[in-house]
């Protein structure tokens, strides 16, 4: 590469990024705002500091958000409806001016550098929006024409490729108002894929899709991520985030509760100990004696909260006491467990 890194200055007061400890040089960057538009891979693709939006009328939609999205990640942006996800995304895309704080996308400040940044960002925001009286293909041609950095000579080819990628080639000539919700969603996704993108921002991309459609979107997201595109995916569906994301941030009531690698987030909550045995009563007694809390017996399964220390010792104790053990291990904690632990509330999805 040889080029000097050209991101916007990263202020020295930024908190540590637990997920990217290998980049201490970020703290030494000098201010070179207009020199070079590319920024090196391996850097954070989205950085917000104290990002806040208070709408007219006083409603605080986003409150002091410090978000860091590492390059190459599939970043899940998680939170119940109304937690400020969409407002955040709109600020990142330059549609809404923050009340205070800063947002950098691809190393440049938003909304100031929207013209330089957005051609390399594909976005699906709050569902697709289409011109119903135009065909699917003409919709894409129009969106591509809106990008002043898109080559008009390759426009038709790129539109055809995007339609093909989302499986809409056969329906390309149909008027968009005749599309089903799933087709509209896919056409919206095609619009985000008109050009090679560094970052894809997908706000609830599987909303309104049937299970098959959801699977297709997830496959597509994984494909794109393996090409090196950073994917920022907002969702209120925990299992969706768990299935495709490497990193996640959790929002609730306008505030960022936690962010980091999905594995780390879930690791914050310890999984329960699970013992499968034909002697459940005996096993429960031994486990209680060894300090296992909240022991629950269900047929041949005994579960409980393990104490600190090596859990293999528990197994030895069981065997020493003559308990026959069929299975022994720690249940993997789910993101849902983590979310409940973090917010102290259930993941209530209303509307």
């Amino acid at each position: 590469m040889g080029e000097p890194p050209a991101t916007e200055p990263v202020r020295p007061d930024r908190p540590d990024q637990p997920d990217r400890p290998d980049r201490p040089d970020q703290l030494k960057r000098q201010d070179r705002p207009e020199r070079e538009e590319r920024e090196p891979a391996g850097d954070a693709v989205i950085v917000t500091r104290g990002l806040t939006k208070r709408y007219r009328g006083g409603q605080l939609a986003v409150d002091g958000l410090d978000l860091t999205v590492p390059a190459g990640s599939v970043f899940g942006f998680l939170g119940p409806n109304g937690s400020g996800k969409t407002t955040t995304i709109r600020m990142l895309m330059g549609l809404i001016e923050p009340t205070s704080g800063t947002a950098h996308v691809l190393g440049r400040p938003m909304p100031h550098a929207a013209r330089a940044v957005l051609p390399r960002v594909g976005a699906l925001i709050e569902g697709p929006a289409l011109y119903g009286f135009l065909s699917g293909r003409d919709n894409l041609l129009r969106y591509d024409a809106a990008d002043p950095a898109a080559d008009p000579r390759t426009r038709r080819v790129r539109v055809a490729a995007a339609l093909d990628r989302v499986g809409l080639t056969a329906a390309a000539g149909k008027k968009a108002k005749a599309y089903s919700l799933g087709m509209k969603q896919r056409l919206g996704l095609a619009a985000a894929l008109l050009r090679p993108r560094r970052l894809l921002v997908l706000d609830e991309p599987t909303n309104g899709l049937d299970p098959q459609g959801m699977r297709e979107i997830r496959t597509l997201v994984r494909e794109l991520a393996s090409d090196g595109t950073t994917v920022f995916l907002s969702s209120h569906l925990l299992d969706e985030i768990e299935q495709v994301c490497t990193h996640a941030a959790v929002m609730a009531r306008g505030r960022l509760i936690r962010q980091g690698a999905v594995a780390d987030l879930a690791a914050g909550t310890r999984g329960r100990l699970v013992v499968t045995t034909p002697d459940p009563q005996e096993a429960a007694r031994v486990l209680k004696e060894r300090g296992v809390g909240d022991v629950v017996v269900a047929e041949d399964r005994v579960t409980g909260e393990p104490p600190d220390g090596e859990i293999a010792d528990l197994n030895r104790a069981l065997v020493a006491e003559g308990v026959r053990v069929r299975g022994f291990g720690r249940e993997r904690p789910s993101l849902e467990d983590a979310f409940v632990a973090l917010t102290g509330e259930g993941f209530d999805v209303a509307g």
Binding site: M93, I125, P148
Partner: protein, 300 residues
Amino acid sequence: MSPAEALRAERAERAEGAERRPGPLWSLGLLRSELLTTFRRWRTLALLTVLAAVPVLIGIAVKLETDDGSSAGGGGEGPAFISQITNNGLFLVFTALAATLPFFLPMAIGVIAGDAVAGEASSGTLRYLLVAPAGRTRLLLTKYATVLAFCLVATLVVAVSALAVGALLFPLGELTTISGTRIGLAEGLARALLIALVVAASLIGVAALGLFVSTLTNSGIAAMATTVGLLITVQILDQIPQLDAVQPYFFSHYWLSFADLMRDPVYYEDLVRNLGLQAAYAVVFGSAAWARFTAKDITA
């Protein structure tokens, strides 16, 4: 940086390097797309059809009324020039423009201009245009240019339809100007074209006003209704004699000055005032629309 990451970065770099540098004309792609989109709308075509029908109705009415030998417009009633149509079909062009300018034409402009931004907002397409990124100033200029193109097309539709109907139903030939001199058909046609251009230019102010209203709301219907409502209000106020102090500032006040092009020699004073007023409206409401649109939170 891990080898995989380096490889990925290199690939991304190569992809970007292969792309051509954006040319200055690429920016016009949006205008082309906007024109295509606007003129492919069923609503636009319906408006143009209505406008094309007005001269047909006037022509047929005059023809029927004068078939028994009486002159049209009896005692000077009706739109300007109507009594001359039977002598020369070319006058149907002037009559039709005089009949559509006070209401039909500006109403059509109000619909298109009012819908320009607000319609995109209510359908949600505005946010996708902006993240494309169309650029707010560029998008607004494109919208205004398209509305102005519609002003010209709408006026020409009226003029051409009137000319066709006039030529079909009435004789063409030399014509008498308002001043009483006679000019040849060729010069008459040239003046008709000039008049059509002036009429189109008279709509610049309404177009800017409509575009400004369009940036205020996320509802296309509300913006159209407001613009057309303002148009009617101004037309009514322009008729109230007590308001003559402010009337010269109404965008519609000098509209009918286009008739001065049919004088010999042409009387320019009101024509110039009209064009100046339209330019002032374009500057004032264009700036207001720009100030509003570039600072607006796009929440739709």
